[in-house]
Structure formats: structure tokens, C-alpha cells
Amino acid sequence: MTNSMVASWRRFQKYKPLIHELVGRDLKVKYRRSFLGYIWSILNPLLMMLLQSIIFSYMFRSNIPNFPLYLICGNTLFTFFNEATNMGMNSVIQNAALIKKVYIPKFIFPLSRVVSCFVTMSFSLAAIIVVMIVTKSPFYWTLLLCWLPLVFLFMFSCGLALLLSALTVYFRDMQHLYGVLTLGWSYATPLFYPIEALPDSIIPLMKLNPMYHYINLFRNLVMYGNIPGPNTWFANIASAVVSLALGLWAFRKMQKNFILYI
């Protein structure tokens, strides 16, 4: 067991340049031929936030202080999660040509996609800073810890991307189903409403949603200068570790027969 883990780690080391190149490729291709290029990573979340805060402040009379910041915090994390798992899910199928011809550890494909989405998201963090400045939100020292929920979310997304990419090879239907699933998931996550707006009977259910915990922790650190209690931390770490372990286990188990199905 330890031997095979050491071997896996060695292989991972050997293919680090490949992850680097694949991430670089994703970023280059993403904004190739657009005039504003990487600026879109900042502009896009800002425009989304503007649109949503206009619409939602008319629709709901919510009493969330600094609603624009509340929105963009949740959206940044959820958009990353959505993009990373979606792109990760299709990564194995899209690289079929390569997998059929050359030996490469296959987990590299979903992993590199999640990493490139993570890099894009890090640019988007600048948009959050812009909103904080414009809305004159106070800068708490806890802001320095805001990378923690992002790392947990990264692990969670990696695990899910690995699992989904392996499943998709066998059941192509996943691709079509997953879009509906994430839309439902985004409504089930307090992105534009406060959790208190939900009926009391549903709140315990909401606590089963890992996305709620990541976003909650992030908002606490960025918006309220507050370090939440151990329960939130436990939920963050546990869901990240469980997802990553499950994803790796399932992917390892299924990858041997990929070649026969792609």
C-alpha cells in the first residue's frame, strides 16, 4: 500500500510539467482572440453581480447588508465549483485521442482542468476587492485567511471531478444530467438569499450541502471579520477529504478500462 502510494507520488512528480503545460493551454485557449483577454476574469463576475443585484433587489426585499458583496462572494465560489466539475467531467473524453496513443496517468486530465479553473478564480478575487473598495466595506485581518475555504473547495471539486470524469466514460448521460443537477444545487445554496430566509425545517437539510459551508466560511472571513466555530471548520475539512478520497478511489478503480470505452 505504502509502496504503491510512493510510486504514485513519483509518477505525479514526473508529470508535474504536463499539468503545468495543460493548465497553461487551458488559460491561453480560453481567452484567445478576445480583446480584453484575462480582464474578462474580473469583468465577468462584476457584470454578473451588477445584473443580479439589480434584479434581486427589486424582487426580494432582503435585508442583507452589503448585498453586492454577499452576492459576489457566493457567486465566485459557486462559479468555480460549477466550471471545475463540468470541465473536469468532460476532460477524459475530450482527451481520448491522447489516452489512446500515449501512456499518461489519467487523473492528470481532470486535475489540470480543476487547477486551471482555480487559477481563473484567483484572478476573479480581484473583483471581490473592487467591490469591497467601492462599497466601502471594512477590511478585516481575517481576510488573510480567505484562502482556506478556497483550498477546501479545491479539494472537494477535485474529488467530484475525478468521480464524474470516470463515470462519464461509462455513462455519457452524465453530461446532460449534470447541468440540471448543478442548477438545482445553485438554487439550494444561499447565493442570493440568506439562510435565515428558509423555513426552520429546511435549515438542517441545508447543513448537509457542502457548498453552503465553504461559502459560509468564506463570507465570514471576508465580510464579517469573524472566525466561525469548530462545526463549520469540521464540515469544511470533512467534506473536502471525503470527496477527494472517494474520487481518487473510484477513479483508480475505473481507469483501467477507460481505453475500451472512449
Binding site: 508529470y15 503545460e21 495543460l22 491561453k28 484567445r32 496513443k101 500515449v102 483501467k256 478500462n257 475500451l260
Partner: protein, 248 residues
């Protein structure tokens, strides 16, 4: 001496029915009819051989005899259904030239990407960049997206990258037929030089003259079985004789 490649009782089974079972409805119907695991097809059936370092071995045989499957199993792309394969050394796969290219990227970017596919980092590729481009004769097109290349140019670039770095084992599947005559000559020269440098070659080709030129030993595969294994001259003679008799 320990062989550099050892292939032990390798069988590779494909499930033809499985390939077609794509939708849930078909799957259920087939499952109920107990047809799901029928139509098994053995691309390789209990094949064993070993190759010593520095040998140059050709795999010959008709279309569908399992040559390419054998190469893919050795390259680690496929896992054998039964048996095992061991390769002790770095492998340069020339299974399909330019397989790892991203058509939207330029030649320059693809060189780094393809190098990384083979496990080389940026600094290492920087050193070899110029000689790759020079060998491929593509200096004017370094910053052109590969999608605008002709198929010969893509193949040239692919060959140049794959053979630039000295590997212990070179696996070559019918790729020397690319490019124009001049380039073919150049490729052949480079392969001969690699061979004299101690690289082990595993070569698949339908061109017997090419096989005779490059390989000292040949293995004849016939419907997934090993039919003959020995010096190229003898095996090729047997093979030609069998084909002339019109045997399948």
C-alpha cells in the same frame, strides 16, 4: 542479462457487443437476453516473447492480426486482459504522430506540450527546441497554429519531437510512410543512428523492404497468435510464402 521488454502470456479481449451497447434500453434488452457478454474477440491470444536491449524487432502480419494492439499493450496504453508486460526503460511512442497536439496552439506551444506528455519539463525542452524545429524544417512556421499545417508538416513535427530525446525503447507504428521522400530518408537515418546508439526498436510496418532494412529479428502475428519468431530474412520468407499461397 535481463530482457528490456518481456511479454508473458498476454491476451487482449475486446467485447464487440459491449461497444455497441450505448443506451439504457439496448443494454436492458441485451441483458435480459443474456447477450451482453457474447461476441468476445481476442485481438491477442496467449502471446509471449522477450526482447533484449539493443535488438531491433519488427512485428509483421496482416491487417487486424493484433500488431498495433501489441504495441499499445507494451506502451502501457492498454492493460492486457490476461498475462503481463514488463518494459524496463523509457519509451518513446511513435504510435500516431502528433497525437498529443492541440490544434489551436502554435507549433512552439505544442512542442512544450508534447514534451510534457513525455515527462520533460520546460527547461529541458528549451535546450532541445532548436534542434526539434530544425529537424522538422518548420522554422518559418514556429508561431502558426497547428490547425493550419498540412498533414505532412504535423507528422514531421511529431516525429521530430518524439525522436529528439534518446529513449531506451522506440515503439514505431507505421509512421515512416509520412512526409516526402527526402524526409523519409532523414527519418530512417535518424532511426538507424538511434539503433546504433543502443536504443531498442519495436517496429510495425507492412513494407517488408523497410523491415529488412531496419530490423534483425521479426515476429509474425496471425489472428492474435504468434506464428513465427526469428531472424528477419527467414520470417519474412515464410510470411511471403504463406501470403502467396493465398492463405488468410
Amino acid at each position: 542479462m535481463e530482457p528490456i521488454i518481456s511479454v508473458n502470456n498476454v491476451s487482449m479481449r475486446f467485447n464487440l457487443a459491449q461497444e455497441k451497447t450505448e443506451t439504457l434500453k439496448e443494454y436492458t434488452v441485451k441483458f435480459l437476453k443474456h447477450q451482453l457478454f457474447f461476441n468476445e474477440f481476442y485481438a491477442l491470444d496467449d502471446v509471449s516473447f522477450t526482447i533484449q536491449q539493443g535488438e531491433s524487432v519488427a512485428l509483421i502480419g496482416r491487417n487486424g492480426s493484433g500488431k498495433s494492439t501489441m504495441l499499445k499493450v507494451i506502451a502501457g496504453v492498454m492493460y492486457p486482459t490476461k498475462g503481463s508486460v514488463q518494459a524496463n526503460g523509457s519509451i518513446a511512442p511513435l504510435i500516431e504522430l502528433g497525437a498529443g497536439f492541440d490544434m489551436d496552439l502554435t507549433a512552439r506551444e505544442n512542442i512544450y506540450l508534447n514534451g510534457a506528455v513525455m515527462g520533460h519539463d520546460r527547461a529541458f525542452m528549451d535546450e532541445h527546441f532548436d534542434s526539434i524545429i530544425d529537424f522538422a524544417e518548420l522554422r518559418e512556421f514556429v508561431d502558426v497554429p497547428v490547425k493550419n499545417f498540412s498533414s505532412g508538416m504535423v507528422a514531421r513535427l511529431g516525429f521530430s519531437i518524439a525522436t529528439e530525446v534518446k529513449a531506451d525503447i522506440l515503439i514505431c507504428d507505421e509512421v515512416l510512410s509520412v512526409g516526402d521522400f527526402m524526409f523519409q530518408q532523414k527519418c530512417q537515418k535518424r532511426m538507424e543512428r538511434m539503433l546504433s546508439g543502443g536504443t531498442t526498436l519495436l517496429f510495425v510496418s507492412h513494407s517488408l523492404p523497410q523491415v529488412k532494412k531496419l530490423c534483425t529479428r521479426s515476429i509474425w502475428l496471425d489472428h492474435g497468435h504468434k506464428r513465427a519468431d526469428g531472424p528477419t530474412e527467414e520470417v519474412c520468407e515464410q510470411y511471403t510464402a504463406a501470403m502467396e499461397k493465398g492463405e488468410a
